[in-house]
């Protein structure tokens, strides 16, 4: 009997804890991607300022309302602009950031090709 109780205890407890953890993971991921606008070089997740704490509560509220991660980013983008996101999308201000690695890869590849492969 004790054994059954023990098993039951775990069966009931496990799904609950994983649901909670999933929510928490999502919230942490989102707040790590949001910039604390009044701090220097800190994400909302890292900061303990009034601004960041309120933002964390609001992220929780939005998650409870059933908003997806992208919807939450979009929501904060309309409130505070692109600057609040740590992961900027491709636009006229960020194209260099996105294209530079590809450009460097192509130029580097061209140099290697010319100098080492063609010479042979």
């Amino acid at each position: 009997m004790k054994f059954i109780k023990f098993i039951l205890f775990f069966i009931i407890l496990f799904p609950l804890s994983s649901v909670y953890a999933e929510d928490n993971d999502k919230r942490n991921k989102i707040t790590k991607n949001l910039r604390c606008l009044i701090c220097q070089g800190q994400s909302v997740y890292d900061s303990d300022s009034e601004f960041a704490n309120s933002l964390k509560i609001l992220v929780d509220k939005k998650l409870e309302e059933g908003l997806s991660e992208d919807q939450i980013y979009k929501y904060f983008k309309t409130k505070y602009g692109e600057w609040i996101l740590y992961d900027p999308g491709l636009n006229k201000n960020t194209y260099i950031l996105w294209l530079l690695p590809i450009l460097i890869f192509l130029i580097g590849g061209a140099i290697i090709y010319k100098n080492f492969i063609v010479k042979k």
Partner: protein, 168 residues
């Protein structure tokens, strides 16, 4: 052939650094962009009754939403200017009491006067975030459910004059 590719790389790097230096690295929030006012539920400051934002902000009237707190020192400096602005009776000043203690907030108003037509409570600071605020004090000029202008930091005589000019 190598010098030419090196030259190209230098040109590209120069271009990147030049562009990076040209842009301002200081974050300056947009204050002039017209945005729709957020919809929120809150509590009235004195009575503690639940209120909806749609019942506070009516169409065809000019409102100044002021986020304040008794623990905020710049709010103390700003307060006489709000009192002054209230004398004209042309703009309805709405207070949003930010993360404050009721007793302290009440004493603050007793000491410095109450320029607010209505005051609402934002205990956890989420309503301020919904307005797109950074901290206290901050003021929003609202007309027809649209934020016309945002004032970050304490108001001063210059800004009060500007508001008076805007609402004419």
């Amino acid at each position: 052939m190598l010098p030419f590719s090196v030259f190209i790389i230098f040109v590209i790097i120069f271009f990147i650094f030049y562009k990076a230096l040209e842009d301002s690295k200081l974050y300056t929030p947009d204050v002039n962009i017209k945005k729709e006012m957020p919809v929120f539920n809150t509590k009235e400051f004195f009575s503690g009754e639940n209120v909806k934002s749609s019942n506070i902000f009516k169409l065809d009237k000019i409102y100044l939403l002021n986020i304040w707190s008794s623990w905020c020192v710049p709010c103390r400096q700003e307060h006489p200017f709000l009192m002054n602005l209230n004398l004209d009776n042309k703009v309805n000043i709405i207070g949003l009491n930010y993360k404050d203690n009721f007793k302290n907030a009440k004493n603050f108003l007793k000491e410095l006067g109450n320029p607010y037509k209505e005051i609402f409570i934002d205990l956890d600071g989420t309503i301020a975030i919904e307005w797109g605020a950074y901290g206290v004090p901050e003021s929003f000029l609202v007309y027809n459910n649209e934020i016309i202008k945002k004032y970050i930091g304490p108001l001063n005589q210059e800004l009060v004059d500007e508001i008076k000019l805007l609402i004419k």
